[in-house]
């Protein structure tokens, strides 16, 4: 049996590194299990046999957390999100554990409608009703700022300025930027939610020794 030097396990409960069991025939495995002082970890052994040991999931959780933090700091640093998003996160608690993702999904759903309306309005040849567009834009701006999407809100401001001047070309270009920014934000937020989901899964793993 070779003892593979493992990294220091992150799980405190496992003071000794798990022995990496070399895949052997079942007979040997059964023998080993009988003598193994860590027989209570029996379930882990098959895991270890097949692949990633359970304890490595703990590592994943850390990694996931690091990923999430990195992403968030990137978004904040780039000005894509602002402190309103933090407020949103603070609103999430035990009573509403998925608050942020729910709200953001609603936001995406509504925003797509608004963006589509804006585009159809602007693309219309006889477009003249800046007011109507302004109403859509106002709503989009309101929800974006409530989410904490700072960059989108800024683009909306520029859009509004162009609309006030009845500058159709300006509105069109602002709309392009808006759509681009929106897609970018959507991707990033989806990524964030994925990480968070994985974290939840990772945290769900319960090591037997863990209390």
């Amino acid at each position: 049996m070779s003892k593979v030097k493992q990294q220091k396990p992150l799980c405190v409960w496992n003071p000794k590194p798990l022995k990496r069991v070399k895949p052997t025939n079942k007979k040997r495995l059964r023998e080993r299990e009988k003598t193994n002082p860590f027989s209570f970890l029996g379930q882990l052994i098959p895991l270890a046999k097949t692949g990633l040991p359970l304890w490595m999931l703990g590592l994943a959780a850390d990694r996931l957390r690091a990923d999430m933090n990195r992403l968030l700091s990137f978004l904040f640093h780039q000005g894509i999100l602002d402190e309103q998003f933090l407020q949103l996160q603070q609103l999430q608690d035990e009573t509403s554990p998925n608050f942020v993702s729910e709200v953001v999904n609603i936001y995406f759903h509504e925003s797509e409608k608004l963006l589509r309306n804006l585009r159809s309005l602007l693309m219309d040849r006889e477009f003249s009703d800046y007011n109507k567009m302004g109403i859509h834009l106002n709503q989009f701006m309101g929800s974006s700022s409530s989410i904490g999407a700072k960059r989108i809100r800024n683009v909306c401001l520029a859009f509004r300025a162009a609309s006030d001047q009845n500058n159709r070309a300006g509105c069109l270009s602002a709309l392009e930027v808006l759509e681009h920014e929106y897609c970018f934000l959507k991707n990033k937020l989806h990524e964030l939610f994925q990480i968070q989901q994985q974290r939840v899964l990772a945290a769900g793993v319960r090591y037997p020794m863990q209390h």
């Binding site: 609103l91 609603i106 109403i135 309101g142």
Partner: protein
């Protein structure tokens, strides 16, 4: 805020959690105010916003603040909810731009009917928008994104409002009664009329209008939640008495105490009179402001909010009248200008009637004064002959018209004085009837019927009805002619033709209510003017109306609009039949859509007062008698009116007058 804090502290003493969560409240001597066991936690908030994202976020934030939250994505649904459960909400958070109803309209409705504090929200934080919100009576204006800290503070508006109401009712003078010109009077009288010992403690509070720095305002008596005295219902008779008293004293010298003595009404306190006087003065100011702005031709000019408010109020009243006929805003304005200096009594009376006459919110005010006087006379005459049904309101209109006819001969000058006399006597009945009608109309106004009325009454204060449009049905000739003529006649002409439409289809005259500043009216106009009849200019006007917040409505457009209105007369024939129905039913939906407030001056005017008094029921009959009843009923329902609501009397006055115009005589009138 010490007082507030103390108050809150005492009330929340039972719930420490709540107090601690609201940072300014430190332990202080508990005032014996029992606002609620869990104040401010448990505050019942209604959030109205078409943006689901914000709605959800706000809901969560408000939950964090320990408030009871009800969300509603549609304004109409929210309004119905409020109406059904009147006592179930403490404060309302509403978005400004909503697809089904403008947030400002909702604001007005709520202020009129339920008198709850409303906080506006919007991503648009421009000064203009905020100003508009304030003018419409919003307690506060929040700019999105909204932070939780801001939401934690909304309870202050509830408390403030309750305290002000209580003080007004219970103590000598109310906090919100600290009108500048009244303060002198009030302060002098405070000592004498202090009802309780605590009044003295309230004096310092009183001196600060609505300020929360009341040092220690012993608010023991102020029990907003429990010991509210019953509101005084300013019925039509009462109001007339008030107005005549004020007239006697002179508007400048009218002091609550003396008014009270003159009125000699048992059970009425000086505070009631004081607050009513304050509102009356604000109303007058608004009218005069309107009159001065545009001169005779533009009675409508004036603060938009005034219009809005008046409109909403007046719309109720004016609708029935408006439907029957339209009094040209100009004439009304002219009259108003003349009568502006008249005793308030006339004004008041006139207001109701003129409200009818004037579609435009501005106009009516001015004209109301004048018209009021004349109207009242006419109203009295016409009342007897006026039918009770809305559709028959035209009859009264015709009467009004006839009265109007004779009115010019009266001169405005005479109208005033004579009115004052007549007002007090005749008005009593006529006015009440008219008011009732108006009230009834008001209600409908809010409903779809209002829209119809509005159409008819969209009298543009400044616009001169363009003859071209004048449909044959309405003896358009009147309007254009009158329009060009300066002075009251032009206005009346405009209106007249509307009313003149002998057939009762007048009501829908959409006289260009486009008041200059009155976005809403214009909006309304556009809303109501049937495309077919809308002349290009008119349509453009309506567009302007819709959008503009500015107060300049091109006269041409206005006239066009008026024309449209006149044109609509024929169209309105059919609508008239509907009018009675709407009153009965709630066409709130329709009305709401149509921005009743825009409507017309008459809306503002007539409905101002009566509207405030909650048009809770509208009966379809327009006639003056019904108006009167409605009005009184309405008044009963709401005594407390926000100052901005101004007296709907004007509106009412206008309407009756309008009704008296005989269709045929308008021409003659105008030519004079």
């Amino acid at each position: 805020m010490a007082t507030m804090h103390r108050v809150v502290q005492s009330s929340v003493s039972t719930s420490d959690a709540t107090t601690t969560s609201y940072g300014g409240l430190t332990s202080c001597k508990a005032a014996d105010i029992v606002i609620s066991d869990q104040f401010p936690a448990g505050l019942r908030v209604l959030v109205v916003d078409d943006d689901i994202t914000c709605l959800k976020i706000l809901e969560q934030m408000l939950h964090r603040c320990r408030y009871h939250v009800t969300t509603c994505p549609q304004a109409k649904v929210a309004l119905n909810l409020l109406r059904e459960r009147k006592g179930c909400f403490d404060v309302i958070l509403s978005d400004v731009y909503m697809p089904d109803m403008d947030g400002y309209k909702l604001l007005e409705h709520v202020g009129l009917e339920m008198d709850l504090p409303v906080i506006m929200m919007s991503a648009d934080g421009s000064t203009r928008a905020v100003m508009k919100g304030i003018r419409h009576g919003a307690c506060d204006y929040l700019i999105k994104p909204i932070r939780e800290e801001e939401l934690k503070n909304i309870w202050q508006h509830v408390v403030r409002k309750k305290w002000n109401e209580n003080k007004e009712l219970e103590h000598s003078g109310s906090l919100d009664d600290t009108d500048q010109h009244k303060r002198g009077h009030d302060d002098a009288e405070y000592g004498s009329s202090a009802n309780d010992a605590t009044d003295t403690s309230l004096k310092p509070l009183k001196k600060r209008s609505n300020s929360k720095e009341g040092d220690d305002g012993e608010i023991d008596n102020d029990d907003p939640s429990t010991s509210k005295k019953p509101r005084v219902v300013w019925s039509v008779e009462l109001h007339q008495q008030f107005v005549s008293a004020v007239n006697q004293l002179g508007i400048d010298k009218a002091v609550p105490k003396r008014i009270l003595e003159l009125m000699n009404v048992p059970g009425l306190t000086r505070e009631n009179v004081a607050s009513h006087l304050q509102k009356f003065r604000l109303y007058l100011k608004r009218i005069s402001g309107v009159a001065q702005q545009g001169g005779i031709a533009n009675p409508l000019c004036g603060p938009v909010e005034a219009n809005v408010k008046i409109g909403s109020l007046g719309s109720f009243n004016i609708q029935p009248l408006a439907a029957s006929g339209q009094i040209p805003p100009q004439t009304l304005a002219a009259l108003h200008a003349e009568l502006l200096g008249r005793p308030a009594g006339n004004l008041v009376v006139a207001m109701d009637q003129s409200a009818l006459l004037q579609a435009t919110p501005h106009g009516p005010k001015c004209i109301q004064v004048d018209h009021g006087v004349a109207f009242i006379q006419h109203l009295v005459k016409s009342e007897s002959s006026s039918s009770k049904h809305f559709s028959q309101s035209f009859a009264p209109v015709e009467d009004v018209a006839s009265g109007f006819r004779s009115w010019p001969s009266n001169n405005i000058d005479t109208a005033g004085p004579s009115n004052s006399g007549g007002l007090s006597t005749q008005n009593g009945n006529m006015l009440i009837d008219l008011l009732q009608q108006q009230q009834q109309l008001q209600k409908p106004q809010q409903r779809s019927t209002v829209s119809e009325l509005r159409r008819s009454i969209n009298v543009q204060p400044s616009c001169h009805v363009v003859p071209s449009q004048s449909s044959a049905s309405f003896q358009a000739g009147n309007s254009p002619v009158s329009v060009t003529q300066n002075g009251s006649y032009s206005r009346t002409a405009v209106i007249d033709y509307n009313f003149l439409s002998s057939q009762s289809n007048c009501p829908s005259l959409n006289i260009g209510q486009v008041s200059d500043g009155n976005l809403q009216t214009t909006g309304v106009l556009s809303g109501h003017i049937p495309p077919a009849s809308v002349s290009p200019s008119v349509s453009s006007c309506s567009v302007n109306a819709d959008n503009c917040a500015s107060q300049q409505v091109q006269t041409s457009s206005i006239t066009a609009i008026t024309f449209k209105a006149s044109r609509r007369l024929p169209g309105f024939v059919h609508s008239t039949s509907n009018i009675p129905d709407p009153y009965g039913s709630t066409k709130s939906g329709d009305l709401l859509n149509q921005e009743p407030f825009n409507n017309l001056g008459y809306i503002n005017k007539g409905t101002c007062l009566p509207a405030k008094f909650a048009v809770d029921e509208f009966q379809s009959h327009l006639n003056s008698s019904s108006h009167g009843k409605v009005f009184s009923e309405n008044i009963g329902t709401r005594v407390k009116q926000e100052p901005s609501m101004e007296f709907g009397d004007n509106a009412k006055v206008g309407i009756p007058m309008l009704q008296q115009f005989p269709p045929n005589d308008l021409m003659s009138v105008f030519t004079e």
